[in-house]
């Protein structure tokens, strides 16, 4: 009966021209988290972050699906702060094997380990944690958000190319800051750069008043360096560092020159079209998590289009195969790393006004693809869950 209904619906949607057939329900599950306060309220995080990216990807899929008789649907489930996302995930998995997840790393693992999730396809669009791409990977969990390591590798390629060989680092104290700082250290070692000094930002003063007085003194102790790295993923203090440093030096990382999965200044490779479609839909600029959610649902759509099925095992096999390629508006095809389920992708290095460069930079070679110079390569990843 259900199939008959779908068949009729398919006929109506495709005006009788396309074969009916494939039903692709997707659930976007978001675990809301309270954000710690930050010094400035200049850049609030939009409430629809991620979700609007998924909606745009849905619209793209539906247009293609309309010609092929593939019917995509997206439902959003939001778990408020403090709520338990696991029952919500269980309910979602009863309806579909395709989930787009926006939740902290621990929640992602709890969902991926549910008995109902075995054989499902879960997309991580929110956590950059290295462990999820290494020892804590899961066979059913793919990652469309770049890892911390991919972003820090992108930045270090740039620093190396500019011969900014000596680095200093200021890191915040939040878990995201610590994880990004860890990735920066690892990338500096990977690309042969020297981290000469490190400091932790643990002030509780209001830097809007004091930046010009505090930051020069604070950075004086860093000694000599070429590039100052900032690990401040909540955007708490970092915005007050540039131009206030003791030495006149460029700033990069969470502030200044930022390696980002996506940014409003990306305009080449047809990206201007994606940006304008997103702005029409959401009334704001597209952010990295929006892009990750868009890439997740578009990857699913691409796999359904090419395989003409919504069988999760077939979709998963296709996504992880050499045949899969996603046109992601970054100048080259995107694909998944078969060893840890990470979407390999170029990383733009951006300022608020322009894209300064896009990694991988020319000259960083790799036997498979230059994209694998960013993030954990097969020998570096401790992931064994994927084939």
């Amino acid at each position: 009966m259900r199939r008959l209904c779908l068949y009729i619906l398919g006929l109506i949607l495709a005006a009788g021209t396309a074969p009916a057939g494939v039903d692709v329900p997707v659930i976007y599950l978001k675990q809301q988290v309270d954000r710690p306060p930050t010094l400035s309220n200049l850049d609030p995080v939009p409430g629809d972050e991620g979700e609007s990216g998924a909606l745009l990807g849905l619209a793209d899929n539906q247009t293609t699906g309309g010609f092929l008789g593939h019917d995509y649907k997206l439902e959003t489930v939001i778990v408020p702060p403090g709520g338990d996302p696991v029952p919500a995930a269980r309910d979602a998995l009863a309806q579909t094997p395709f989930l787009i997840l926006d939740a902290p790393a621990a929640t992602l693992l709890a969902i991926a380990d549910l008995p109902q999730a075995q054989g499902a396809i879960l997309f991580n669009t929110s956590s950059a944690a290295t462990a999820l791409r290494s020892g804590e990977c899961r066979a059913n969990l793919l990652h469309t958000l770049p890892s911390h390591q991919m972003r820090s590798d992108a930045l270090m390629q740039f620093a190396r190319a500019r011969r900014w060989d000596t680095l200093a680092l200021i890191s915040g104290t939040h878990p995201g800051d610590i994880a990004f700082a860890e990735a920066l250290r690892a990338s500096a070692a990977k690309f042969g750069l020297r981290l000469s000094a490190e400091k932790t930002w643990a002030f509780d003063a209001d830097m809007r008043r004091n930046a010009t007085q505090e930051v020069p003194l604070f950075t004086q102790e860093l000694g000599k360096y070429d590039l100052l790295l900032i690990a401040d993923e909540l955007h708490d203090f970092g915005r007050y560092i540039p131009f206030n440093t003791w030495l006149p030096r460029p700033v990069a990382g969470s502030e200044g020159l930022v390696p980002a999965g996506w940014a409003p200044v990306v305009e080449q490779w047809g990206a201007a079209q994606l940006q304008s479609r997103f702005r029409d839909l959401a009334g704001r600029d597209m952010r990295p998590r929006d892009y990750a959610a868009w890439a997740a649902i578009r990857s699913l759509g691409e796999a359904v289009t090419r395989t003409n099925t919504a069988d999760p095992a077939a979709i998963r096999a296709y996504l992880l195969s050499d045949r899969f390629e996603l046109a992601g508006f970054k100048g080259r095809p995107l694909s998944f790393r078969h060893w840890n389920g990470q979407l390999r992708q170029p990383i733009p290095l951006v300022t608020p006004r322009a894209m300064a460069a896009q990694a991988p930079l020319e000259g960083y070679l790799h036997q498979r693809t230059e994209l694998d110079t960013l993030g954990l390569d097969a020998p570096e990843s401790a992931c064994t869950a994927l084939p």
Binding site: T64, F67, R277, E302, T305, E325, A327, R332, P333, L371
Partner: protein
Amino acid sequence: MKQLLLIPALLLAAPLQAAEIWVTNEKDDTISVIDIDTLEVIRTIETGERPRGITFSRDYSRVYICASDSDTVQVMDPETGQILHDLPSGEDPEQFVLHPNDRHLYIANEDDAVTTVVDTETRKVIAQINVGIEPEGMAVSPDGRIVITTSETTNMAHWIDTETRAIVANTLVDSRPRHAEFAAQGSELWVSSEIGGTLTVFDVATQAEKAKIEFAVKGVHPDRVQPVGFEFTEDEETVFVALGPSNHVAVVNARTFEVEDYILVGRRVWHMAFSPDKSLLFTTNGVSGDVTVIDVARREAIKSIKVGRFPWGAALRP
């Protein structure tokens, strides 16, 4: 020395008024006009915002320009460079094709997932056809019965019946189809896929895939070999294919579908146009802001001509 030999040969063959190549400069809002005899830019003409697709009317008395960011198709007098009027094109026109009836323009509206049909005489939209996301490549069969729109994000060629103005078939191609052309007296349809890195050849009668052409440029990763614009020689025996950021043009045997040669050109090569006798080929190189002149017989680049910023489309004015 080579050039010295070439130029007198061209002068002998040239008609009274020298032929020209018109190039749209996407980020300068201008057209650069190249004199084919001297291989110099002789005029720069202002256009609307972000000019991309460019084509002449059959008698060359009008030139149509997709001014993408002005959301219009401009109609220009090529003698004076004056804009005569705008055509209602739908939003963000990128590429178009003029029907053999010399009257109907089929326009891809990149931001709108629509193909718009405009009557250039009445200056009215006569149809809008829903297609895939980001329509771009446009082609018309020699008999005028079929128009093709390719959509970049939907990854399809949409086959439009020009009588009913309805889609009669949709065929999947590799990622990000950019350009389409009919060949072999209209019996084949060729479509380039930028991200897929391939050219797909369809049999028009059955809409079945007949061949798929792949490219391999020495020293360039396959991801960077991105076919976009392409053009056939007069005899339709050979096709020249722009390979985007690989900075090469491929020479493909249109009968055997084999790649015979790669020619190094400027950076991010987009589209191209032939001289009237098809002895020279002019490619627009988006990133390097120049046009490469290729000697077709020798399959060699012979000159680079600086034009405006981000040259995109090219059209011959004989």
